[in-house]
């Protein structure tokens, strides 16, 4: 038993650390660490820099830009990315549609889509959720009826993150109306420029509009855009969801945030002393740090256990990482709100701050504290709510 990384792993870590901290602009990373959303341009720039250096899609098959890294290397890569504040390559491209096409797509699809997805030449968005479906994904109602060489798609998707930037949509649709829930679903790729698609932003409680409703009205999609077999889409969706294993805990993100909270708390005052010297605050912070340390170790155990195992098979341990990881990310929101105190109250929309020369209201780190607290409540809801994760653990691990 040895918790130290091997010399090779340390060298690898230093290499990715150096890359992230020198090649990705400091201002993009600082902004991201500060809780602001990266712009489309910043995300594209970052991902292309990473892709040019082989860092955008390391977990893909080697043929399409993958690196055959071990689970430890993948962990270090992700952790260093998060610690450095580097915006993650667009998950819809690199963690979702890419692996599905690489695994289940035909050669033409691979050639057509994978290089562009890796380089974010196409911006993808996800069409899984539907109004009223929630965690019960399989109850979806969007249909695709076959007409000659095309499918004609009708329905509505929701929670489609960053659809406003998207060139392509990967989409679950019902192709067999008679089949039972999970059966009769297909996985197709839709060009967002196709006639009949309307994107309507959903304003969220933090003031942002990163998610959208996508309306599909008689949208004609070439049949060649079907991935894999008709009516097998549910399997591909499960593969896609099971693909994300450990990064889901976002330990690196929480670590970076706690370091920042520590720093900001030294700038704030609690009576006669800096807030960071207040015992109650320190103990609260330490309590979260200890839980996070434990989760980091839990994650490393999962990573170590996965060495050499094939990916794509859902690991129920990832449910634990998701459960606890979401709670801890949300705990950092509360700590940050406490740090900024009354200055968590002013609402300054991110758009207004962008390029404004007005001074900030209160300290310049205050504006994101409350919106992020509001926004990050989603972490325990999306990607399978924590209730669903508990159901999974109850069944798959505890055997209920």
């Amino acid at each position: 038993m040895d918790l130290n990384f091997t010399p090779e792993e340390v060298a690898f870590r230093d290499e990715v650390r150096h890359f992230f901290r020198t090649e990705i602009p400091a201002d993009i990373r600082a902004k991201h660490l500060g809780g602001e959303h990266a712009t489309r341009e910043e995300m594209v720039q970052t991902q292309r820099t990473m892709n040019a250096n082989g860092y955008a899609v390391p977990h893909w098959p080697r043929e399409w830009g993958g690196k055959d890294w071990t689970s430890v290397q993948l962990y270090l890569y992700q952790d260093e990315m998060q610690l450095a504040g580097v915006p993650h390559p667009l998950p819809f491209n690199v963690s979702m549609v890419g692996p599905v096409i690489a695994q289940f797509g035909n050669e033409a699809q691979k050639k057509r889509f994978l290089p562009r997805a890796a380089n974010i030449d196409d911006w993808w968005c996800q069409g899984f959720s539907e109004p009223g479906a929630g965690s019960d994904l399989a109850s979806l109602r969007t249909t695709a009826r076959r007409e000659g060489d095309t499918y004609v798609v009708n329905g509505q998707k929701t929670w489609t993150t960053l659809a406003q930037h998207a060139d392509w949509l990967f989409c679950l649709v019902r192709t067999d109306m008679a089949a039972k829930k999970q059966e009769g679903i297909s996985f197709i790729l839709i060009d967002m420029k196709t006639k009949g698609i309307t994107v309507r932003p959903i304003r969220t409680i933090d003031g942002g509009a990163e998610v959208n409703e996508v309306f599909l009205d008689e949208v004609v999609v070439p049949a060649e855009n079907l991935v894999g077999q008709e009516n097998k889409g549910w399997d591909y969706a499960k593969f896609l969801l099971g693909n994300e294993r450990t990064g889901i805990a976002r330990v690196g993100v929480s670590k970076a945030r706690l370091a920042r909270i520590r720093e900001l708390a030294s700038l704030e005052r609690m009576g006669d002393i800096p807030l960071i010297e207040d015992r109650a605050f320190r103990e609260k912070l330490a309590g979260v740090e200890i839980e996070l340390k434990a989760l980091e170790m839990t994650q490393l155990r999962v990573v170590a256990a996965e060495r050499g195992q094939a990916s794509g098979k859902p690991n129920p341990a990832s449910s634990i990482l998701k459960l606890k990881g979401s709670v801890l990310q949300q705990a950092t929101n509360e700590l940050l709100m406490e740090v900024v105190g009354p200055y968590a109250m002013p609402y300054v929309p991110e758009d207004d701050r962008e390029g404004s020369n007005e001074p900030p209201i209160g300290p310049d780190y205050a504006a994101e504290a409350a919106p992020e607290y509001f926004n990050w409540r989603k972490i325990s809801i999306y990607g399978g709510s924590n209730e669903i994760q508990r159901n999974i653990v109850a069944k798959a691990i505890l055997g209920f």
């Binding site: 959720s129 009223g132 929630g134 965690s135 019960d136 109850s139 929701t158 929670w159 959903i202 304003r203 969220t204 409680i205 003031g207 704030e268 005052r269 609690m270 009576g271 006669d272 109650a280 609260k284 949300q330 509360e334 709100m337 406490e338 105190g341 009354p342 200055y343 968590a344 109250m345 002013p346 609402y347 300054v348 209201i361 209160g362 300290p363 409350a370 919106p371 607290y373 509001f374 926004n375 409540r377 989603k378 325990s380 809801i381 999306y382 709510s385 924590n386 209730e387 508990r390």
Partner: protein, 378 residues
């Protein structure tokens, strides 16, 4: 011992609840928020006409002669409607400060105007590093001829942008955190040397950063000895926002239960899932505990025993902060995605509840107060 409302109080409750029900739907509120001041001047006039702006004031000033219970009734209903008008700033804080600390002349001049809806007031006390300490004041007041001038910066002044008059804490002597040497000053908002920068708060209300550069001011109460009055008014304000939060939490709790009964997942209403039922029960228990403490703070708000009053206010703030956080987070979680959308009402309750926790100090801060100063059972 008696938790019942008397006849007048029941009438008051009925009228303010009816007003909120009739006039404060989600869409109406949105329209109010988009008005220039961030609230509805017309509603303000209505409140005046209904006598709501006079609730805590003596009849000689045109008021209703009510006490904390009457305030509670109004605030709880306002909480259910997420009312955005500056009732807390003008009536509870501004009016309260004048009522306790103001001269007879100031009372006679200002209170009728407040009651009539003709004057908005704001209380400027927060500074960049004061956090939640009322006695942590760097803003300076100096004598200037027969009057005073103020210099310094105040932040997060609730409804400070639309206020006609500002009540400002400033130091006449002593160090930044001395309890002695604090004065309260009245400054007309259009006084030269006053600069205001208004903005919305996270919950859709309004606040302002305000700078004073040798702005002329008149004293309210005796400079250096006014802190006890300020603390008393803040205790009453805490009781008031606790009551408001009961309205907010009740709405979250009942909406969540209703939602659980209709929302279907996996072929049945999510309210049929026992794990979720039990969490809804825990929310309900939290709500009842909070309601109890809001009542307690309300009744104690009229106590002349400053220590007991303060302990009650702080204890209530702890309970409300904790219950509110728990209920708010569970409301969002049990609703799922829809609660995250600005078009659905529940997120706005969540945000208001979050801001109420911050107002005048969060739960942990008040826990420290209670722990440092005594026991609620003393």
């Amino acid at each position: 011992m008696d938790f019942d409302l008397n006849e007048d109080q029941r009438l008051l409750r009925d009228s303010v609840e009816r007003l909120v029900t009739d006039r404060y739907g989600f869409e109406q509120r949105k329209a109010f928020l988009s008005q220039p001041d961030g609230f509805s001047r017309e509603m303000w006039k209505q409140y005046a006409e209904l006598g709501l702006l006079g609730v805590p004031f003596a009849e000689e000033h045109g008021g209703f002669g009510g006490g904390p219970v009457e305030t509670m009734i109004v605030m709880e209903a306002f909480g259910r409607g997420l009312v955005v008008e500056p009732y807390l700033a003008t009536v509870i804080l501004g009016g309260g400060l004048i009522r306790y600390a103001g001269s007879e002349a100031q009372q006679a001049e200002m209170l009728p105007k407040i009651v009539g809806g003709e004057m908005l007031v704001a209380f400027a006390h927060v500074e960049r590093h004061s956090r939640y300490e009322l006695h942590n004041v760097a803003t300076k007041a100096e004598r200037d001829g027969d009057g005073w001038v103020l210099s310094g910066d105040k932040g997060v002044v609730l409804h400070g942008d639309s206020a006609d008059c500002l009540l400002v804490t400033a130091r006449v002597s002593g160090g930044q955190r001395d309890r002695d040497g604090i004065g309260l000053f009245l400054v007309r908002a259009d006084t030269p040397g006053v600069t205001r920068r208004g903005y919305p708060t996270q919950d859709g209300l309004r606040a302002a950063e305000i700078s004073f550069d040798r702005a002329r001011a008149e004293t309210v109460g005796e400079p250096g000895a006014v802190l006890p009055h300020i603390e008393r008014v803040v205790d009453e304000a805490i009781a008031a926002i606790c009551a408001e939060s009961i309205g907010v939490m009740t709405e979250m709790q009942t909406t969540t239960v209703d939602y659980m009964k209709t929302r279907k997942q996996f072929g049945r209403a999510i309210g049929e899932f026992q794990a979720l039922q039990h969490r809804a029960v825990d929310m309900y228990v939290d709500l009842e505990q909070a309601r109890s403490m809001a009542l307690y703070a309300t009744v104690m708000a009229s106590s002349d025993d400053a220590v007991a009053r303060r302990l009650a206010a702080s204890a209530a703030k702890v309970q409300i902060g904790r219950s509110g956080r728990k209920i708010g987070q569970e409301t969002i979680q049990l609703h799922g995605g829809i609660a995250m959308t600005a078009e659905y009402k529940i997120g706005h309750y969540f945000k208001r509840m979050t801001m109420i926790d911050i107002l005048f100090g969060d739960a942990d801060r008040h826990l420290a107060e209670v722990a440092a100063h005594g026991s609620v059972f003393a």
